[in-house]
Amino acid sequence: MVWKFGDNIDTDQIIPAKYLSISDPRELGRHCMEDKRTNFASLISSGDFIVAGNNFGCGSSREEAPFVLKEIGIKVIIAKSFSRIFLRNAINIGLSVIDCAALVDETSEGDELEIDLSKGKLKNITTSQIYQSQPMSEFLLQIINDGGLVNFVQKELQKTRRVNK
């Protein structure tokens, strides 16, 4: 189901800096969005969606922001727009992010969605509306298809090692 937020949800709201020295993912996840919604982490079921306004994830470069959202079970974030570093971090850790203003305007909290990432096709099951988002660039799809940047780097390092042998 959908959890809806407004514009400019910044990284301090997603995960306050005071928790960034915590390395245990589950403990970190418990503080996700806590100043915005009490006990948010415990309300999420795996596969839920966040639908938000403009500039989602603005502020700091902390990768913990997309990480905690993924950790508590958020599958896809659909927003009118994302801040640059948040978008980059999300792609690098394999959390799907989609720009789709029309869906954001016409979707309410609690709606159910169905998403075909490869085709960029989004469906609001509750309202029966269908939306088409911008397909992701081939370059970024390649990183996501590699399973995120970690796997991409692993492949690159193996190539170098073969050359050096």
């Binding site: 390395s23 403009n54 500039n55 502020g59 470069s61 970690v150 390092l157």
Partner: protein, 423 residues
């Protein structure tokens, strides 16, 4: 057609004659920086990637500035991990607490940032280096791990917005007022994904310190990077800090280049600016602020913790006492700035006024330690963000301003115009 500053630097680092906005490239990195929040996570990911050695032990900077001196066991463990990694990898540039200070003040100050470089840092304010015509941009921990392993990263070539100023600012206007004014005008998404480029005229009257403050907050309008053309002031600044050869011949944007937008601001009449909670774009000129009583003043951070900033604050605070209900926190951004402020008796002024000096670090800016706000408290701060809960309780409030406004507010106990005290 020609290229903008950002396009030139990205082309130069990807062995291409030319790059165009929207193009995806792999580019080689000159410097890779991580601090005690981003680096520990990146080190764990580096190991998960199966990387054994960093790409170049002289090009990676690991530094402690956020939660140091270690605020708790978790941060102590983070710094321990950084130390072990720095030793194992024999890193040339490893700076624990007491050796450097805030990353974005320390790197330029120590002569590591040079025009034309491509620098990534595990911190969003890495755009600061644009004041010295280096393309600096913030990245997260997985990118940082990849950068340490490969020495290169993927980039999307940004479009460029050019900013030019008309006129000369009055003597009460600092770099902080100018950047707050711009953020107020174009909003927190005003330059999203873009390179924010200032032209030569725009920076003419600005000190290097003011330029660093402006470039530092480019991320608050969503910019990928900020770039300012290097001039004689920059060359002089660099000569005092490095013996490296400095080549600026190719850097300036070509004539007739395609900007996404050109924005001109008349800065002759602007007043000191204050950003109200909870966005840096919520800006008002000081005459429209009203009487807002405050509990704390913070002067420091990567935005405004340089010697020039402390001098301005001391000018206002000299011989004054702050009200008993107000906490004044001063944070020299680096060890060098601390020593210089000591030598100039600036720290004496602050302590005599009733202030406390924090060690060079981010201090309360990210809300973790050394000046956290209680419910309902208000602070005037020279830092860069005033989001909900940024400096403490979610119902506390941060008003962003220049060191002059912050110091005047500390004296008065409410948000005040420095002209009231100094004229």
């Amino acid at each position: 057609m020609g290229m903008t500053m950002a396009e030139k630097i990205l082309a130069d680092h990807s062995d291409k004659e030319e790059v165009k906005p929207g193009e995806y490239i792999f580019a080689n990195l000159d410097l890779v920086m991580g601090h005690d929040v981003s680096a520990p996570r990146a080190i764990r990911i580096f190991r998960k990637m199966g990387a054994k050695k960093v790409f170049n032990k002289d090009k990676i900077i690991l530094l402690e500035d956020h939660f140091v001196p270690n605020k708790d066991v978790n941060s102590a463990e983070s710094c321990k991990l950084m130390k072990e990694f720095a030793l194992e990898q024999e890193l040339t540039h490893y700076y624990p607490v007491g050796r450097a200070g805030i990353c974005h003040a320390f790197l330029p100050e120590s002569g590591m940032v040079l025009p034309g470089q491509l620098i990534v840092g595990g911190d969003s304010h890495t755009c600061t280096y644009g004041a010295l015509a280096a393309l600096g941009t913030g990245i997260g921990a997985t990118d940082l791990a990849a950068a340490m392993a490969l020495g290169k990263l993927w980039f999307k070539v940004p479009e460029t917005i050019k900013i030019t100023f008309k006129g000369k600012p009055s003597k009460w206007i600092t770099g902080k007022d100018l950047i707050l004014f711009i953020i107020g005008q174009i909003g927190v998404e005003g330059a999203k994904y873009k390179s924010l480029e200032f032209d030569r005229e725009a920076v003419t009257y600005l000190s290097v310190s003011d330029r660093l403050t402006i470039a530092n907050m480019a991320v608050e309008v969503g910019a990928k990077c900020c770039l300012m053309p290097p001039d004689a002031k920059i060359i002089q600044y660099l000569k005092e800090r490095t013996r490296e050869e400095i080549d600026i011949s190719f850097l300036e944007s070509d004539i007739g280049v395609n900007y996404e937008k050109v924005l001109e601001f008349d800065i002759t009449k602007i007043e000191p600016q204050v950003a109200f909670p909870y966005l840096p774009s919520n800006v008002k000129p000081i005459s429209k602020v009203g009487k807002i009583k405050i509990d704390q003043v913070v002067i420091g951070s990567c935005t405004n913790g340089r010697l020039e900033d402390l001098r301005l604050a001391a000018e206002v605070l000299k011989g004054k006492k702050v009200p008993n209900y107000l906490r004044l926190i001063i944070i020299p951004a680096t060890q060098k700035i601390y020593l210089d402020a000591l030598a100039e008796d600036l720290l004496k002024v602050f302590v005599e006024a009733g202030g406390v000096i924090n060690p060079p670090s981010c201090g309360p800016c990210p809300g973790a330690q050394m000046g956290v706000l209680a419910k309902g408290e208000k602070a005037v701060s020279t830092t860069n963000r005033n989001f909900v809960g940024r400096m403490g309780h979610k119902e506390s409030e941060i008003y962003l301003a220049s060191p002059l406004v912050a110091a005047a507010s500390a004296v008065k106990g409410y948000i005040a115009d420095p002209r009231e005290l100094l004229i």
